[in-house]
Symmetry: C2
Subunit: 531 residues, 2 copies
């Protein structure tokens, strides 16, 4: 642990307490937002203070074997019982915590993790692994199957060290509880970086990224944490599961690939060797306006299919440019950037520009990635989770969902998802709100579209309203052959659609693996599979 006192996080929203806007600042922001959107209260509510939140009494208490590294106070219990989905935040704002973990363990070593497993198994208590707590799919919410006697959350914050750096192979052994800024600051002195940036970078951990197959913000190549993983160490109720460090292997089914995406059901990831790189020194960015979203889609498909691999390739539809202030809603915006630590990227940028122009795009060279359209987009990306807290206080429903689909199915999927979302918003909110789309990741055979819904909610009913919209759009994704998630994971929230998507026989195989490794079904019961 570092010498300085850890900063305290908001109990209901994004960020640290010391970053919270003052009531005056909230009101000022709300006025701007309301002017821009045309809805939302200019007189935002206040969140229910932590001290006023009523939670159920703990069903179980820390036993002596765990007491030295446990906490059962209300703040610990409350802050560990929700992630950061819109539903979590609007419910947390309202002080609504129907499912609360009974106590939190903060293991300091692997033996303490094993002690937690043993006690939970003996008492039929569920154990929920917890990294940065930024799940947007109910990944940390202690909703229990009926026959459990309680829930314990296992917070990995003490596993936050870069253990070893191998400069020759450009890899590092990093403990799983390290948050994004923690691990990057420790790697900086080696002039190396993991370069895995996601919106939740500040409040998510390496172990969480691996457990959920998180996606970073790069549009091509190493889009998911999967590609960075050289080896994983996890503690399971049946012992340690540790693979060899290897650049590649063809020896049977990959052990790492079975932990990637296991969402805490097979073990608690304690560390991993991950592939690093040098910081890029050469960057080139352009922004391109297309008269239609379809023109931009054609361009980004041709770019990636031609073999170009932009670091950034975000295509924002007209509605989303209006929403985010990056345009007036009359055209689609493509933010396209190339990077390298060693080589000039001008020829790639020129080739991409030509492709954009052949699809009707109008190109602006940004040069510096922090100015102009590109800079505006980047700022919006980083600020988004903070801004949403204000929207919540204004009674505005604001949430995103994402998927991936092959190119042949994209146009139809896009059309039907937008239509389903608009119909649901109109029905549920009595207002058209805003439904928009951007493409965040591109692959030779498909892409990952990301949808944003913003609409006026009814005070106290927002969570149920969003649930109805989510139901409609999620079923559309599944019906159209897409995935329920490209990088947000399954958690508890996506289970109904994940169950339709994944092969039943595979689910049986995963259940068989789970029973072999976690015979007491202690770890995250109900996530991915049932007992």
């Amino acid at each position: 642990m570092s010498g300085s006192a850890p900063r305290t996080r908001k109990h209901w929203g994004w960020g640290y307490l010391d970053e919270e806007l003052s009531p005056a600042e909230v009101r000022e922001t709300a006025a701007l937002v309301a002017d821009h959107l045309g809805f939302g209260s200019r007189d935002p509510s206040d969140p229910v203070p932590l001290a006023e939140i009523a939670i159920s009494a703990p069903r179980v208490s820390p036993p002596s074997s765990l007491a030295a590294f446990s906490s059962a106070d209300a703040r610990s219990r409350i802050t560990h019982s929700r992630g950061k989905s819109y539903t979590d935040i609007v419910s947390g704002f309202a002080g609504h915590f129907p499912h609360v973990t009974d106590f939190v363990v903060y293991p300091r070593d692997e033996e303490e993790i094993e002690a937690a497993f043993q006690w939970c198994a003996s008492e039929r208590v569920a154990l929920i692994p917890y990294g940065g707590g930024s799940s947007v799919v109910g990944g940390v919410t202690p909703v229990l199957p009926p026959d459990y006697n309680g829930a314990v959350t296992l917070d990995m914050r003490n596993f936050n060290q870069v253990v070893e750096v191998d400069p020759t192979s450009r890899a590092a052994h990093i403990q799983a509880g390290a948050l994004g800024p923690d691990l990057e600051s420790q790697l900086a002195s080696h002039n190396l970086t993991l370069r895995f940036y996601l919106q939740a970078f500040q409040f998510s951990t390496l172990g969480g990224w691996i457990a959920t197959r998180a996606g970073g913000h790069f549009a091509t190549q190493t889009t998911h944490i999967d590609d960075h993983v050289e080896s994983i160490r996890a503690i399971t109720p049946s012992g340690a599961w540790e693979s060899r460090r290897l650049p590649a292997s063809g020896a049977g089914v990959s052990p790492d690939r079975m932990l990637l995406g296991s969402e805490g059901t097979l073990g608690v990831i304690t560390s991993a060797w991950v592939r690093l790189s040098e910081r890029p020194k050469i960057r080139s960015s352009i922004s391109v306006r297309f008269p239609s979203f379809a023109g931009g889609v054609g361009a980004v498909r041709e770019i990636v299919q031609s073999g170009l691999r932009p670091a950034n390739c975000r295509l924002i539809d007209p509605a989303e440019t209006a929403l985010t202030g990056t345009g007036d809603g009359s055209s689609a915006l493509l933010v396209l950037g190339f990077e390298s630590a060693h080589f000039d990227v001008a020829s790639q940028q020129n080739a991409a520009s030509s492709i954009c122009q052949s699809h009707g795009g109008s190109v602006t060279v940004s040069g510096d990635a922090r100015s102009g359209d590109v800079g505006a987009w980047r700022d919006a990306f980083i600020r988004a989770p903070y801004q949403r807290d204000v929207l919540v206080a204004m009674g505005i429903i604001a949430e995103t969902f994402e998927t991936a689909v092959t190119w042949d199915a994209f146009d139809r999927l896009h059309e039907r998802v937008i239509a389903a979302a608009k119909t649901a918003v109109e029905r549920v909110c009595g207002h058209p709100g805003s439904v928009s789309c951007r493409i965040t990741h591109v692959y030779p055979d498909g892409c990952a579209p990301y949808f944003t819904v913003v609409a006026p909610g009814r005070l106290g009913e927002e969570a149920q309203q969003w649930a109805q919209i989510k139901q409609a759009v999620s079923q559309t994704l599944i019906d159209e052959g897409a995935t329920i998630t490209h990088h947000h994971a399954v958690g508890r929230d996506h289970r109904p659609w994940y169950d339709q998507q994944r092969p039943d026989v595979f689910a049986a195989a995963l259940r068989g693996a789970k029973h072999a490794v976690d015979p007491g079904f202690v770890l995250n019961p109900g996530v991915l599979i049932d007992a």
Copy 2:
């Protein structure tokens, strides 16, 4: 089935009967080889003819439910009972077939696969999936655990069609039994290609590649079939396991990644959607001579870590240049090529050249990939399996093994493996033979070295001699932290070292998955895991 009669393959070695060299050609080749190597008989033996091979009587016979698509004749049984490792070929040459499958089924649809499962389960008979039969690790050899009543080999040759091509997403749905040339010829009319080339291209199938996580000949990026897989359909004893076509997904553990490398233990892969690309139009190749292998290693590491992604990057040590006639043994040879369907690759080639020169390399521009050093290497790559048959007839032990390791551990691994191989060859053969290494694949965090051993064997004892050498080098790989295979799979031959490499808890998970999907333990018992 196509109208023309299928060509018949050699029962003991590589290739079709109609490609077999005449006795005079064999003798001519043998003389050249013996002159070059300084050992090996100039009067090659003849293989034991198929008709003279004594095999045990079948333990089981095709039941009426399978009879319409089964064969129990000696040729079918013999040719399906060995792969193409050196041990297989030298033993097959000598007519030694101690483990013979009882009959072969050639299912014409998935229902016939299911019928085979049912009968095998009811009779406690092992079922061994068979693609192109080119396993070099005992993947198709019917060595049975003690409590099985027989073995049936399931040959997928009737599943050889490209079912559908999606030109928009550049993907195709291809049946798993399609051999490399089959599927490429069907894709050619669409101006698309899988571009997955491996030495066994002619006699290996898409399903076999997926089941064994095969590696292609490209040195970077899509090195393994894994990266080409969009979705997989497999028939298991518990039903069909079919994933969605997706360019990427973060929805839980990847179902495809559990079938990739499952080596026929979880199901029989019947088809897959795979990612295609355009044929490259622009190619640039250079060859580089380095005074030492170490200089070349430094160069290829810098090339890949700088972000360059050559299609070909083979670094051949001095001994191997002498062996293959691509050099005189005084320097290491790097064959380096870049390719693109759209863009000039000159700047990449120039950057790589500069790196090579800074490591002491002397560069020759090849231009055309089919001339000079580059052409010589490529010819040798394609001819190698055919040539080995002559070596076998000359009494020469000739086999390869490969691995992957992180860069920090490479120098020591290389030194120890070469030393272990040389010591073993000297001890076992009483002759130094030739032990050499080339690097075939490079990754930012490591590489895949490929070792070749050629030595004079003692007639009738070659398989046992090789087994002793293999034991020594395999244990060295494991002791030094490498993988037992980068792309040759585990099969039955690598089990002792695979068991040391893979995490025990992972093995328990895989066993749990296997029991859930194949409760009768019908599929490939003993491969990867025991019951």
